[in-house]
């Protein structure tokens, strides 16, 4: 089945290159799901064949996670049906799903960090067999068999908390395998992997395919989708947009289907006075095991993007500018004056703000009021010399930012947890904007944010840049970088490897730049 969205294809457009006779492992039909009146899935279909590598793509908030949780039985669907291995379900429980060979590897892997690799691999099986006593020899056998399946060489006695994310992911995959998986669903598996590790993962996925196991690979990254998957399904706003084989489509169409927008139209290209003193100038900044000899300038009116794969040092650079891990050597100039940044306090005093990528643990105080979250970084300006709060000022500040950033809430005294991702991110932004920061560094500014809020946040950032606030965006969301930033820096292995104007490059080329050596 094929859905297109206002786009005509050529006559010979062909849907399925996989032979029709291949067995269908999973068929989800017309799945609908709402949460408290908010529609998450509006009649979604998904079909996966045996031994197929299928990608489920879509922007944040499109419904991918919800669909997965329904397939694995964690959520119940409001309507629709799921066919697994020939069995039809209108209601599916986690046990049903597991019994039909569906294994989900979530982003947190569900491992025990304090236990050894061997134990993490073997306990699911032991528990399924209702064992009372532990036979360490038997555990080891199970574990050895598991890692053999994907040629994974790891010390079985190592404690999981000491392992890298890539290794932990492989352990999660092995565990899924020995539980007799027929369909392995991987939720954004490459988020925290380096390029090399991603390649290893793809090798493993191909190995699994040979064994006849299907993989549902959830991702929003263009380059990976095209490299590994055979067929893909794109969702947007809870609806199907496209399902076809990867060879049918090129990257331009892909972005279009993902976002519903042609991004060329909104590229940011302001006129910049490059002769003026830069707002921020970084000279030969280095940090051991982080980044090396970084130099760049940020001029008034610009939005500078820093991208690169994880491990490229981009986050470390941001944290260094913000004082969390101060650089070992090099200098930082703000408006031509040298500044020393050795702590977060220094950074903030110098007018630097940071919107972290992990909003929930680093950016917000979830169980505190929205109002408090807004003013928390600005308390000195809202209180008098001996530290007493000026209530009028406080209320005025809260009101101002709720309105300016259109933060939708019925009561600002509610916990910030009650807000949607987009509104939460606005609260984090307001925290810094209320301080009139001179420089704002944002790491993954629209992760977990719905499309509407995403655009509004980009608009806010643009207006800030126009007013003279220096904006640095760190992101691996290439369309975002290309539309919001006017200049891009590419980092690789801690070094600054490329400087480009965003108007000069396309997304595919940019992706290749990040990867190539």
């Amino acid at each position: 089945m094929l859905w297109r969205d206002n786009v005509k294809l050529g006559e010979n457009s062909f849907m399925d290159t996989t032979p029709q006779t291949a067995e269908i492992i999973l068929k989800a039909s017309n799945i609908k799901k709402s949460f408290s009146g908010v529609v998450a899935l509006d009649g979604v279909d998904l079909e996966i064949k045996k031994g197929e590598i299928h990608c489920l793509a879509g922007e944040n908030g499109c419904g991918k996670s919800t669909l997965i949780k329904i397939i694995s039985g964690v959520y119940g669907m409001d309507s629709g049906k799921i066919e697994l291995n020939g069995h039809t379900y209108h209601k599916i429980s986690p046990i049903d799903s597991i019994r039909n060979g569906v294994q989900v590897i979530y982003q947190d892997f569900s491992l025990f960090p304090n236990l050894s690799v061997m134990e993490n691999l073997a306990y699911n099986t032991e528990l399924a067999q209702k064992r009372t006593f532990v036979n360490w020899k038997r555990l080891r056998k199970i574990a050895e068999e598991a890692i053999r399946m994907i040629d994974f060489n790891i010390d079985l006695d190592q404690k999981v908390e000491l392992l890298s994310i890539a290794n932990r992911q492989q352990i999660a995959i092995c565990r899924a395998l020995i539980n007799d998986a027929k369909l392995i669903i991987m939720d954004e598996p490459t988020t925290a992997l380096t390029k090399k590790e991603v390649q290893n993962l793809f090798r493993i996925i191909k190995l699994l395919q040979v064994k006849g196991i299907s993989i549902l690979f959830v991702s929003h990254k263009i380059e990976e989708v095209f490299e590994i998957s055979e067929r893909l399904t794109i969702l947007r706003n809870g609806k199907n947009v496209l399902a076809c084989s990867t060879s049918e489509i090129d990257n331009q169409d892909f972005s279009y289907y993902m976002t519903g927008k042609k991004f060329e139209m909104s590229c940011y290209d302001p006129t910049i006075d490059y002769s003026a003193t830069p707002i921020l100038k970084v000279n030969n900044l280095s940090l051991k095991n982080g980044f090396n000899d970084i130099s760049f300038s940020l001029y008034r009116g610009e939005i500078l993007g820093i991208t690169g794969l994880l491990g490229s040092g981009r986050t470390e650079l941001a944290l260094s500018l913000f004082g969390i891990c101060p650089a070992d050597s090099g200098s930082i100039e703000l408006n031509g004056t040298d500044v020393k940044i050795t702590s977060v306090f220094d950074a903030i005093q110098n007018g630097i703000g940071y919107v972290p990528d992990d909003r929930l643990t680093e950016g917000l105080f979830l169980d505190q009021a929205i109002s408090d979250n807004i003013i928390v970084s600005n308390l000195e300006n809202l209180s008098n010399k001996i530290g007493i709060l000026d209530n009028k000022k406080r209320i005025a500040a809260i009101k101002e930012w709720l309105e300016k950033l259109s933060i939708k809430t019925s009561d600002p005294r509610d916990n910030v947890q009650t807000l949607s991702g987009g509104n939460q991110q606005r609260v984090v932004l307001s925290k810094w904007m209320s301080r009139n920061t001179a420089i704002l560094i944002l790491n993954g500014p629209t992760i977990g944010v719905d499309i509407g809020s995403k655009n509004e946040i980009h608009t806010i950032l643009r207006s800030l840049a126009e007013k003279g606030v220096g904006i640095l965006i760190i992101s691996d969301d290439l369309p975002e970088i290309l539309t919001t930033c006017n200049r891009i820096l590419i980092m690789k292995h801690g070094n600054l490897m490329g400087r480009l104007k965003s108007s000069d490059i396309s997304e595919m080329e940019l992706a290749r730049e990040c990867i190539s050596n």
Binding site: L364, S377, L379, I388, D411, P412
Partner: protein, 332 residues
Amino acid sequence: MKHDALSSRKLQKNDNTLLNNLVVAAVILITMAILKSSKFFSFTNFQSMAYQLPQYGLMAFAMALAMISGGIDLSIVGMANLSSMIAALMMIKLANLIPNQNLIIYVIIISCLIAILIGLLCGLLNGLLISKIGIPPILATLGSMQLFSGVSIILSKGNAINRLPPLYAKIGNYALFNIVPLPLLIFILLALFVSFMLNKSAYGIKLYMVGSNTKAAKFSGLHVDKIIIQTYCLAGILSSVSGLIMMSRLNSAKSDYGQQYTLQCLLIAILGGVNPQGGHGKISNVMIAILIFQFLSSSINMFPYFSNFYKLLIWGIVLLGVMIWNKYSKSR
């Protein structure tokens, strides 16, 4: 949007606790009214309660502050006793040196100030151990409790110090207009002060934030270490005043007075809606919890056949009952 409501920093969670506590307090008062009205609702009784309450009430606030910051302070009684012990020794020594009776008042004032300083220093130690060294609060204050008690024991060789200048006990038992005991006034003043700090100062907001999420606090530019140290120092000061009040009532200082108060203050704080994980808690609710405890305490004393220890029993049941009730009302 309820902008005008922003003027009060009301935290929604506590609505439940406040209600629960008021209900419990009402139940106790009504029961007493029925059973022992003449004895309970007498002036003597209320005055007696007013003298007892400040002895542990201030320590309950100390405990509450530590808990709001995300920690706990098990050393409050140790700090109280050490402070009063040192004050007592100072008072006696100085009183012996200065024969002039008119100057005794100054001796007392200086000794009390030194006691408060000791409380501050003890709190400082706690704060440093927890923030700079990184010892989990329960272990750090467990260790410091032993340490402070230990020093008290060493200074007193395990005995009670009781040849205090009589003026001290006189002051401690003084009642304004013959009605309101001085200790209660001190207690109310300090309660207002702490409440003011929490609700109206920048420190208050910072404390709640640090208790809620230390990492985000750091990323928001808050001086987490400084706030934690300030909090434990404040707890130390409150404990030392508590110790001075205890000493005035007992007219002596000993290293192991009020040992049961640690547990009681913890229970009072929790009953008063302070979340042990940090970030939430109001002084007004803790105050009500203190009142409930005092009513219970005094009530039980009125039944001669019920020993003092029934308090513990009832207290435990009340605590568990309230926690279960809170769980169910939250999940609805």
